[in-house]
Symmetry: C2
Subunit: 166 residues, 2 copies
């Protein structure tokens, strides 16, 4: 648990993140200036930076970097959920799909669905949660799917493991 987040501010511990639970994570508007700034720094492909090039690409018009889309999803995840949780980071994802292009002017809405949960044998104070993230645009089209893991502090630590195992 971090110094900046004491027990009083934590609403979501590992025990609360039970399989089947769905949590709405709010919306973000995609700003053209930010699409260009992100792409210029991290993904300077012509279809993310130049209207004329994008018009001739598979995207049809200027589209956001897929990494920008993931980063916007993470912003919602942190501000509307992880900031009030016992989150301790993530080891990674099982899958990531960019399903539709994301365009400046879009409004993207995120939700997460818990699909698995288990304690960590190696760290009795921490549990692992597997979550599906689904992001939709204002037309109801799914633009992003992520299937990934999160580590969360437990409200009540388990017994220490007799041997290491994770």
């Amino acid at each position: 648990m971090s110094a900046a987040k004491d027990a009083k501010t934590i609403k979501h511990y590992w025990e609360d993140l039970t399989p089947g639970r769905t949590i709405e994570l709010g919306s973000v508007h995609v700003e053209r200036d930010e699409v260009l700034a992100f792409a210029g720094r991290y993904d300077p492909q012509p279809f993310h930076l130049d209207d004329a090039a994008a018009a001739q690409s598979i995207f049809g018009r200027l589209a956001a970097s897929g990494w920008h889309t993931c980063s916007m999803a993470m912003g919602l995840m942190v501000r509307n959920f992880l900031s009030e949780s016992s989150s301790q980071g993530s080891p990674g994802l099982e899958k990531l799909q960019w399903l539709k292009p994301v365009y400046p002017g879009d409004t993207l809405t995120l939700r997460q669905r818990i699909i698995e949960s288990r304690p960590l044998r190696s760290r009795p104070d921490v549990g692992l949660v597997r979550t599906i993230w689904e992001m939709f645009n204002q037309h109801g089209e799914q633009v992003l799917m992520m299937d990934g893991y999160g580590l969360f502090g437990r409200r009540t630590p388990g017994a220490p493991a007799p041997e290491a195992g994770d």
Copy 2:
């Protein structure tokens, strides 16, 4: 193919990206100011923003957002490879692993290894490539693994498919 990238500037077509091929993609230095700026915008968790909070977290000291690490990898991929390729974007990843923390002051080196390649039946001018991305820090420790897909224009389009299939 984008308007900004004509055939003269393309060195890497789908046909060139054969399984087993490894391509070095250069290095990037992790700047503290950028770690803070990225986290402030997209991943405002205390261990990415605050030294004291990070010292008490699993990371031990201020660490970059995993999405920032992915974005830095993409920057190298684009500047040192995709910009001279017939890249047409990506449908996603099979796996993403954040293996070690990334810290301000680190120097990260990226390489890719092609592991699969096949034509797209639905688009005879495009092929799919599956690639492992591996990023290492200055101590030789692997910090990131991604296993993902890229779409690339073909130098010589195949025959149109008799039916759709992809």
